[in-house]
């Protein structure tokens, strides 16, 4: 019926989240950081859908939450990339360390 244990899904999701976190912490380019955030959101979605399937398969709330997360990820990507493009126009660079207008 359920050939894969739930903890496998959770382990994969934790691994994906950690990889995304490492990317968000260690990348220089703003677009690369946005990509890492997308990885983190995907890890969250795997968790939601796995819990839905294994613990509450008759309810729909797990899938509903996953759909909301996907929608918010789309909005976040659109606005985030627009901000990156605006900053790139100003600074001719997408390296986040160089955006220090508000520093000091």
């Amino acid at each position: 019926m359920l050939p894969i244990p739930l903890s496998w899904w959770l382990a994969v999701s934790a691994a994906l989240f950690s990889i995304g976190l490492y990317g968000a912490l260690s990348r220089k380019n703003a677009i690369a950081i946005l990509m890492s955030v997308e990885l983190i959101l995907n890890a969250v979605n795997i968790n939601l859908v796995a819990f839905w399937r294994y613990i509450a398969p008759q309810a729909i709330d797990g899938q509903m939450f996953a759909i909301m997360v996907i929608t918010l990820a789309a909005a976040e990507a659109a606005v985030g990339l627009a901000i990156v493009i605006v900053i790139y126009r100003q600074y001719a660079s997408a390296v986040v360390e160089e955006f220090d207008l508000l520093k000091n």
Binding site: M1, I31, W52
Partner: protein, 172 residues
């Protein structure tokens, strides 16, 4: 048996793609690895019998978000592609690696001993219909809020990215 094999292949796609995203020096390759990772996650949804979400994943993530990211990379091409020789990691890299590893290990340590109350029942077969009904009844307000948010994001992205003035400051 074959389900486990598919799961392992999808895991290789997802985690391998994710490692490619965070480690590739060429940003364009990073975006292509990201598409591979999204494909793996769509396969997970099929294995979890959430077919509608798998289709959404393919359409929204691969069809829209990944293409949007590729567009943004091409817009900032001088910074993204010509610097492919040098490392794309910042100074915090050796701090970020143990933080991420520690988070992973602690998550695994929390996950493994828990005895989850797993239910062996099958999910409802008519999931798309149930989702549609729920969107118009119990989830009506979140649905409306999300639609407003999408409109705001659309208008905001267009307003932000529109070139109103020529660039005033050129920092090298």
């Amino acid at each position: 048996m074959i389900i486990q094999a598919i799961f392992i292949v999808m895991t290789l796609c997802t985690l391998g793609g994710a490692v490619g995203v965070v480690s590739s020096r060429n940003l364009f390759h990073s975006a292509l690895y990201l598409i591979l990772s999204f494909f793996g996650v769509a396969g997970y949804y099929v294995l979890l019998s959430a077919g509608f979400l798998a289709v959404i994943q393919l359409m929204v993530y691969i069809g829209a978000i990944a293409i949007l990211i590729l567009f943004a990379i091409m817009f900032s091409r001088e910074s993204a592609m010509n610097s492919a020789k040098e490392s794309q990691a910042n100074r915090q890299r050796w701090l970020g690696l143990p933080v991420a590893m520690g988070l992973f290990i602690s998550l695994i340590a929390v996950i493994i001993p828990v005895n989850w109350p797993i239910q062996q029942t099958a999910p409802t077969t008519d999931m798309v219909r149930d989702l549609g009904v729920a969107f118009l009844t119990s989830y009506l307000i979140p649905f409306e809020v999300v639609s407003v948010l999408l409109s705001v994001a659309l208008i905001g992205a267009v307003m932000l990215a529109r070139e109103e003035n020529p660039p005033v400051k050129e920092t090298k």
